[in-house]
């Protein structure tokens, strides 16, 4: 039996991903039992940041493009969810809300991506930056429908009876509303990550990587560059939409102040820190984005800064970390760990050393160890 399981683990990519996701969900469920409401809300925040960072890491790590507007895309998802869950009338089924949020965000992402992502160069970064700056203005201009500066309140339905019953049956405790939201957010995260992991392992992911590593060779292999780039951005935007819906459920408010340019840029920090292209790394980055600010802010307040100024210390740390990671360990946490493992394996097998060297040398795209044995041309440098 263990041998059979082992073979399944090795051969079935989908099976492996689903298994990891289920185990992860179980861990989160157990964790939610032990924590209070405040921690449950923090866990939900980590989940929605993780979903958005996961989408972004696929775009940046696998396809070599940068989006500075994932915060704005989250805003679109959150506002859609808020519009579907207005005050006093929370009868729309939540899965439908999430689906519509994803579709609306996908539509916006497709429009921006079709214009900007098909081109090589800084165009997508610029266009998404414009989106990040433009979106709060839309909420203000259409203040009557979108609530202006105050934003839209999201009314959440009660925890369904079957969930309450199941929870009571399993653990003998009552499920709180925050716990329920956290569970939904983590389930969405698990589903998103399984989908993203499968995409990146399959044909689509290989195409994205091929476009990133060598445009000319990818084109010669029959890959349509523009289409491949736009599809990567679309997938990434859809993830941001789901993240936005989860944010709306968690915070129960969609307001312009929640979707600043800083949010978009700090998502990028999570991705860089974890290691471009690594979903596990994105989750680590999301954990940092969630749990670091309260800590740093309290350190700042203790040092005598006013609250407003102390709140800026967290982004300061993110920015410094981002610069340090790119300068010192461009493969991020996940990539550096992988490179260390490969180096150790190589030493054991007395294999040629360059394997590990190129894994740390490039942007930090530690997707597959095999890739680094092939000489890859990086974007922009002449081949």
């Amino acid at each position: 039996m263990p041998a059979k399981l082992q073979r399944l683990w090795r051969d079935s990519v989908l099976g492996r991903h689903v298994l990891v996701a289920l185990v992860g969900l179980l861990v989160v469920l157990l964790l939610l039992e032990t924590v209070n409401d405040f921690r449950a809300i923090q866990l939900s925040s980590m989940a929605y940041l993780g979903i958005a960072a996961g989408g972004l890491t696929i775009l940046t790590g696998l396809n070599g493009q940068i989006s500075l507007g994932h915060g704005a895309l989250m805003a679109i998802g959150a506002y859609t969810a808020a519009l579907m869950l207005p005050d006093r009338d929370a009868s729309t089924p939540l899965p439908l809300v999430v689906l519509v949020s994803v579709l609306v965000t996908l539509a916006v992402g497709t429009a921006v991506g079709a214009a900007a992502a098909r081109l090589h160069g800084p165009y997508l970064a610029g266009a998404t930056l414009a989106l990040a700056v433009a979106v709060p203005g839309i909420a203000l201009y259409f203040g009557e429908t979108l609530g202006g500066e105050q934003g839209l309140r999201v009314s959440m339905p009660d925890v369904p009876v079957w969930a309450l019953d199941a929870e009571y049956l399993l653990t003998g405790t009552e499920m709180t509303r925050s716990g329920w939201v956290a569970l939904m957010a983590w389930t969405t995260l698990a589903v998103t990550y399984v989908l993203l992991a499968n995409l990146s392992r399959g044909r689509v992911g290989r195409r994205w990587r091929a476009v990133r590593d060598g445009e000319v060779s990818a084109e010669l292999a029959g890959i349509r560059l523009g289409r491949s780039r736009v599809s990567a951005f679309m997938v990434s935007a859809a993830a941001a939409g789901a993240a936005g819906a989860m944010l709306a459920f968690t915070v129960r408010l969609a307001a312009p102040s929640g979707f600043t340019l800083t949010l978009s840029l700090t998502l990028l920090t999570a991705v860089v820190l974890g290691g471009l292209g690594s979903l596990g790394g994105a989750l680590v980055g999301a954990a940092l984005l969630t749990f670091l600010p309260p800590f740093v802010t309290s350190v700042g307040s203790d040092a005598g800064l006013s609250d407003l100024r102390a709140a800026e210390l967290a982004p300061l740390v993110y920015g410094l970390v981002m610069i340090a990671v790119i300068l010192l360990a461009p493969a991020g946490i996940a990539g550096s760990f992988r490179a260390w493992r490969i180096r150790r394996q190589a030493r054991v097998a007395v294999a040629p050393a360059p394997v590990a060297a190129s894994a740390t040398g490039t942007t930090g795209t530690p997707d597959s160890p095999t890739r680094s044995t092939v000489p890859t041309s990086s974007k922009g440098t002449p081949t």
């Binding site: 900007a116 266009a127 300061l316 790119i326």
Partner: protein
């Protein structure tokens, strides 16, 4: 009719500033293939330096000079300390570094100077001139803005066209390897290029601030407009950046005047998407060219 004229005049003044900012982006893009999005917080920081000096009792002009000088130094330091180590790495590393710098400068300014809106003085009147009994939207400060940008642009043209250093900078931007073989110190030229670009960016920052409010995020939208203007002109061409800046300034002024100032950034995004869809090489692109 009068509103039309005033909107256009206001747009021209703003367009001049966008042109300067676009020029700063183009200068760096031509030599290092990076769009320096951190140009916005860099200009914000230098403007805050000027404001601190002015609030301390020095004259506007000392603050003005200090801002430009600080921009020059900041640009050179950023190139040497951050960009140089990743020069031979993929572009995306340098781009991420500039974004990290973006966050750092933003947060640092908020910690040091505070998050509040502060008013920035203007050396000339900010009330419109009176022509034939009616006020037009051209102010004394507006004239100064246009003049300052024109002078700086003329100086840049003179530098690149008529001096030895300018020729070397162009060579370094055009082809690093060949320039190096011919004895050009490419590294120094890149540093100088970043320094000059940051100076032009600082100029734009202090001109936008004049007679208005500053806070750590006040340049964020300007970098978007500068980028759109640069793309309008083709990202490579300094003249294109100027024309793009003026076009964008007037267009956005009309959006602001007739639709609503909240939608200006959205209009800029719309213009950008339109240009990228129809003429991705910019308004003046002729032949498709690509780097392999």
């Amino acid at each position: 009719m009068q509103q039309l004229l005033n909107t256009a005049l206001g747009g021209l003044t703003l367009g001049m500033v966008y042109a300067a900012f676009a020029l700063a982006l183009v200068l760096i893009f031509r030599s290092t293939r990076i769009v320096n999005f951190a140009q916005a917080p860099m200009a914000m920081v230098t403007t805050f330096i000027a404001l601190t000096l002015i609030d301390a009792g020095y004259s506007y002009w000392i603050g003005f000079a200090a801002a430009l000088l600080a921009g020059l130094v900041l640009g050179a330091v950023v190139e040497r300390v951050l960009i140089r180590p990743v020069e031979d790495k993929p572009e995306i590393n340098a781009v991420i570094l500039t974004l990290g710098l973006f966050i750092v400068l933003h947060a640092l300014a908020a910690v040091v100077f505070g998050n509040a809106y502060r008013s920035f003085p203007a050396p000339f009147g900010i009330r419109g001139f009176e022509v034939g009994g009616s006020t037009i939207a051209l102010t004394g400060f507006g004239v100064f803005t246009i003049g300052a940008v024109v002078v700086v642009m003329a100086l840049l043209v003179a530098l690149f066209r008529f001096t030895d250093v300018g020729l070397r900078m162009r060579a370094a931007a055009y082809n690093q390897e060949v320039a190096r073989l011919l004895g050009v110190r490419v590294g120094r030229m890149l540093t100088l290029g970043w320094a000059l670009a940051a100076l032009v960016g600082s100029l734009a920052g202090i001109l936008i601030a004049g007679g208005s409010l500053v806070h750590p995020g006040y340049m964020d939208s300007v970098v978007v407009y500068g980028f759109v203007a640069a793309v309008l002109g083709g990202l490579e061409s300094p003249i294109g950046a100027v024309v793009g800046g003026l076009t964008l300034g007037v267009s956005l002024s009309f959006v602001s005047g007739y639709v609503g100032s909240e939608l200006v950034a959205l209009a800029a995004l719309g213009i950008l998407m339109l240009v990228l869809t129809l003429r991705p090489g910019g308004l003046f692109s002729q032949a498709a060219e690509r780097r392999v």
